[in-house]
């Protein structure tokens, strides 16, 4: 029985495998969220907004579960760099904003009562610091020595996934700004912030796409899945990071910009 997806070195099989650690992880988040909702009921007139937030959080949680569980989780942990990249794109760029948006603003009120936590959070979610943390995690977890070593064990694989989720939550915090009283950045700065990530992601794309040989032993020495060559798989992963990652980030900048433009128009009484 495996608790978390990690590299096994055995031939890939499309037979379903159970990963109870993943289920437990998802269930714990779901239980925590439901407790948050119970302790912070929707105020009168905010039911529609609350439903939107719940839908967002549930979508994020379902996507997170799909990324971590069989088959994507298992393929990404030990067989295909492209599946690993799909996990990263999902857990790093799609799931966190959905989760953050899904948390009701009132749920953050207790944080304000704890100065140490507020200071820590303010430091970590400073846009410059957040960019540094997110990209440091991306670079470290994509370093061959680290990835090959950690993905060979369930704990190591879990730590990579956890590092992605936590650092991505930090990265997206200044954009989503879940605490309305503290709008961290002007929307146009948010657009610039997201665009900066487009540029900062380039080194990994170049590294994976243009390497002469496979860089990760875990994928190069894994039994092949459907005959996909290790180098083609790695190049696909690099291109996914560039194309799909850019698309997601571009979509995010568009949403931020339109949201801001609509609010501006509304404030000007044009809508």
């Amino acid at each position: 029985m495996q608790w978390w997806c990690s590299a096994q070195g055995v031939p890939w099989s499309w037979s379903w495998q159970a990963y109870p650690g993943v289920w437990l992880f998802i269930i714990l988040i779901a239980v925590g969220y439901s407790k948050l909702l119970r302790t912070n009921p929707a105020r009168p007139g905010e039911e529609s907004s609350r439903r939107r937030r719940i839908a967002s959080f549930v979508s994020g949680l379902v996507l997170l579960w799909l990324s971590l569980d069989w088959p994507i989780g298992a393929l990404g942990a030990g067989y295909l760099a492209s599946a690993h990249m799909a996990q990263f794109l999902n857990m790093g760029l799609i799931v966190p904003p959905l989760l953050l948006y899904g948390i009701p603003a009132e749920a953050f009120t207790p944080i304000g009562r704890r100065p140490a936590l507020t200071t820590t959070l303010r430091f970590l979610t400073n846009p410059i610091i957040a960019l540094v943390i997110f990209n440091a995690v991306i670079i470290v977890t994509h370093t061959p020595h680290v990835a090959d070593s950690l993905m060979a064990t369930q704990l190591g694989s879990f730590l990579i996934d956890l590092a992605w989720i936590v650092s991505a939550l930090i990265f997206w915090w200044p954009v989503i700004a879940p605490i309305p009283e503290r709008p961290w950045m002007h929307p146009l700065l948010k657009v610039g912030y997201i665009a900066a990530q487009l540029i900062l992601g380039k080194p990994i794309f170049v590294y994976l796409t243009f390497a002469e040989y496979p860089v990760y032993a875990v994928y190069e020495l894994a039994p092949r899945v459907n005959g996909i060559a290790a180098i083609s798989d790695q190049q696909t992963a690099g291109l996914m990071m560039e194309v799909v990652g850019a698309f997601i980030l571009f979509a995010a900048t568009t949403i931020v910009f339109l949201h801001w433009a609509r609010r501006e128009a509304r404030d000007d009484g044009k809508v």
């Binding site: 055995v10 020595h145 190591g156 040989y213 020495l221 894994a222 092949r224 005959g227």
Partner: protein
């Protein structure tokens, strides 16, 4: 209270990260260190064998059903020998795929000096057609051999490898335990390196060109035929062969589709009488160049069937003891031009592939 709890959580997370990271880093760095140590000691990333293993002369059927004489047909080549089976779920396909991926990107002069020989350890299921189909998925030039279990076991033992073992399963559903290393034989017919499972493409790319450079590195810089006067049936061929490698070699023979046979000759002086005598081979020392010329060593082309005219090219097949067979083209020149052609620095040979 909450701050304490937060501190505990952060401490626990950091501890876990450090433990996992340290364990992983340690393991991987050991591998990297041992690889680096191997490179420092031998110049290769492959594992140096405790005892160099000479080639064993065995014959098995290839995938066309023809007998393949291992010793003779790999003579002069870097030979990578692997014992595996086509139903292998992990080691064999990964090894073959990684090797093939690197071979296809090697320069032709390196790639053409390497032969990959796969011997099936699963005679019951590996038919010649299946072996061929399986190898073609990696590289159609890979040579596939099959024999009886007893034959293959005997060959494996003679190379110092454990025999293959059938493990588990029923009927035709079983796995075969077998040695996972690829033995690398140099052009001197001795394996000093083995490549276990886990050899990366970057390792192959590092070692294969070095292995290929170890043997004789022959270059034909001139190949000139003096046109026989009056359309005669005998002509002299003069070669200039440079050996840029680290190993001596010998020219064993020459063949051409334009002549019935060819002989290596030298001119000797017996008390003022100059005669020609046939020799069995001509040494080509490492780092040296052999210049054939009138009055010295040359190749006699005998039984020329069609008149050779100046300006024509004639295909040649040169057979070397270590470098194997090389194909070239020689240029026919008139006697008047012979001396100038042999002195010229312009090669009078056209590389014709192998």
């Amino acid at each position: 209270m909450h701050t304490t709890g937060m501190k505990k959580f952060v401490t626990l997370a950091l501890t876990l990260a450090v433990i996992a990271g340290a364990a992983g880093w340690g393991c991987d760095r050991n591998d990297a260190d041992s690889a680096a140590s191997r490179v420092r000691e031998s110049g290769f990333r492959g594992i140096t064998l405790d005892r160099p293993t000479p080639k064993v002369d065995f014959t098995l059927d290839d995938t066309d059903g023809r007998p393949f004489h291992f010793m003779a047909e790999t003579e002069g080549y870097i030979t990578l020998l692997f014992f595996g089976y086509t139903h292998c779920p992990d080691v064999c396909p990964v090894h073959m795929a990684n090797l093939a991926a690197v071979l296809k990107d090697l320069p032709w002069e390196v790639r053409s000096r390497i032969k990959v020989v796969f011997v099936s350890t699963d005679p019951a299921r590996d038919t010649p057609a299946r072996i061929r189909q399986w190898l073609d998925a990696f590289d159609p030039s890979f040579i596939g051999l099959a024999g009886t279990r007893a034959e293959v076991d005997r060959i494996m033992v003679s190379f110092g490898l454990p025999t293959a073992q059938i493990q588990g399963g029923n009927g035709t559903d079983y796995i075969v335990g077998h040695a996972s290393q690829i033995l690398a034989f140099g052009t001197d017919n001795v394996a000093r390196l083995a490549y276990p499972f886990g050899t990366r493409q970057a390792d192959w790319a590092h070692d294969l060109p070095r292995l290929a450079r170890q043997g004789p590195d022959l270059r034909i810089t001139k190949a000139v035929i003096a046109a026989p006067a009056g359309g005669g049936e005998v002509a002299a061929l003069y070669l200039e062969i440079a050996n840029h490698g680290a190993t001596d070699d010998e020219l064993l023979g020459v063949a051409s589709s334009s002549a019935k046979r060819a002989e290596l000759h030298r001119q000797v002086d017996h008390g003022g009488i100059t005669t020609m005598e046939e020799i069995e081979s001509l040494a080509i020392p490492a780092g040296g160049t052999v210049h054939m010329h009138p009055g010295g060593h040359h190749v006699m082309l005998l039984g020329i069937e069609h008149p050779l005219n100046p300006g024509e090219t004639v295909p040649l097949e040169l057979r070397f003891r270590h470098a194997g067979t090389r194909n070239y083209y020689a240029t026919v020149v008139g006697y008047a031009e012979l001396e100038r052609a042999l002195e010229s620095t312009t090669p009078h040979a056209v590389h014709g592939g192998h």
